[in-house]
């Protein structure tokens, strides 16, 4: 890609990191969205968590506000119900089995140099890149 504008991704990343940092210093917890999502709907051993509901509500509000006031997102994604359902199922199952996703292992775990998170992040990045390569090669023009 030729777009050299790195200010959008950089400022968005700073906001995400600020959210994760504040959540640690205020509530003492890891801002991992897979865990917060599971806890918001009661799919952890602790039942429904007010923190999960609050954080997820905040994500919805923040995304809606930023879409209205800062930048209108234009989403481009597969419209195959099969891929969406299969992808969602294994993302949900995998993030819970592996105790985290891009936020918990990536943003928070790498910041605190957790060996588990470093290995998890390297693993899901490598598998995701390989998956994209296979999808592009096998299903030309698909996905």
């Amino acid at each position: 890609m030729t777009d050299t504008n790195f200010l959008w991704p950089l400022s968005g990343g700073l906001l995400i990191g600020l959210a994760a940092g504040l959540y640690l210093l205020l509530n003492g917890r890891i801002a991992g969205i897979s865990g917060l999502t599971a806890s918001a709907v009661g799919l952890t051993h602790a039942g429904v968590s007010g923190l999960g509901v609050g954080f997820l509500g905040g994500i919805l509000g923040g995304a809606a506000l930023a879409s209205a006031l800062i930048r209108q997102p234009e989403l481009s994604m597969t419209s195959s119900p099969l891929l969406l359902i299969a992808g969602g199922l294994i993302v949900g199952f995998g993030t819970r089995l592996g105790s985290g996703c891009t936020s918990g292992h990536g943003v928070c775990g790498m910041a605190r140099l957790s060996p588990r998170s470093l290995i998890a992040t390297a693993t899901f990045m490598a598998v995701a890149a390989l998956t994209v390569f296979v999808m592009r090669t096998v299903f030309v023009g698909g996905a």
Binding site: M1, W8, P9, G12, I16, G17, L18, A19, A20, Y23, L24, N27, R29, I30, I33, V41, T44, H45, G54, F55, G58, L60, G61, G62, A63, A64, S67, R71, P73, L75, M77, T78, L84, A86, G87, G88, L89, I90, V91, G92, F93, G94, T95, R96, G98, C101, S103, A111, S114, R116, I119, T123, F124, M125, A126, A128, A129, T131, V132, R136
Partner: protein, 146 residues
């Protein structure tokens, strides 16, 4: 508890805004970053790099504090050893992420766009979390988010 929920909501607001501002909410952008053998889009490296700056500073500050501002102790898991669950989960997650281009945060944020694809993915993701909860997740303690 009320203050902690308000704090969680405020952090969520910043997080959700960050997903939109960075365009990480857009699966095509994510897949273009993961497409290292093709027409690579480095944007998400700036997202991750940018996120790690305040996050790392916060974890450095944490080391000098006994407790967070609104709670009596930190709930950060101890640095354990990698195990098969961690690797297996990361492999599955990477597979699903690479197929669609949505990870949990953007999947939630994308619900605000009203796109049916995002809603279907989110429902399937919750079903996957439920499937874990009532199978492999049953006997093991949930040590990441107690």
């Amino acid at each position: 508890m009320f203050a902690r929920i308000v704090a969680a909501m405020a952090c969520g607001l910043l997080f959700g805004a960050g997903l939109v501002v960075s365009d990480m909410i857009n699966p095509a952008r994510v897949l273009a970053f993961l497409d290292i053998a093709g027409n690579w889009d480095p944007s998400l490296a700036f997202v991750m790099g940018g996120a790690l700056i305040p996050s790392s500073i916060a974890y450095l500050i944490r080391n000098k504090r006994q407790a967070p501002v609104l709670d009596t102790s930190f709930h950060v898991p101890a640095n354990g050893k990698p195990d098969r669950r961690l690797i297996g989960g990361a492999v599955l997650f990477g597979l699903g992420w690479g197929v669609v281009g949505l990870c949990p945060g953007p999947a939630i944020a994308a619900l605000t766009t009203g796109r049916w694809e995002a809603a279907l993915f989110a429902v399937a993701m919750l079903a996957g979390m439920g499937a874990y909860r009532f199978t492999l997740g049953r006997p093991m303690p949930d040590y990441s988010f107690k």
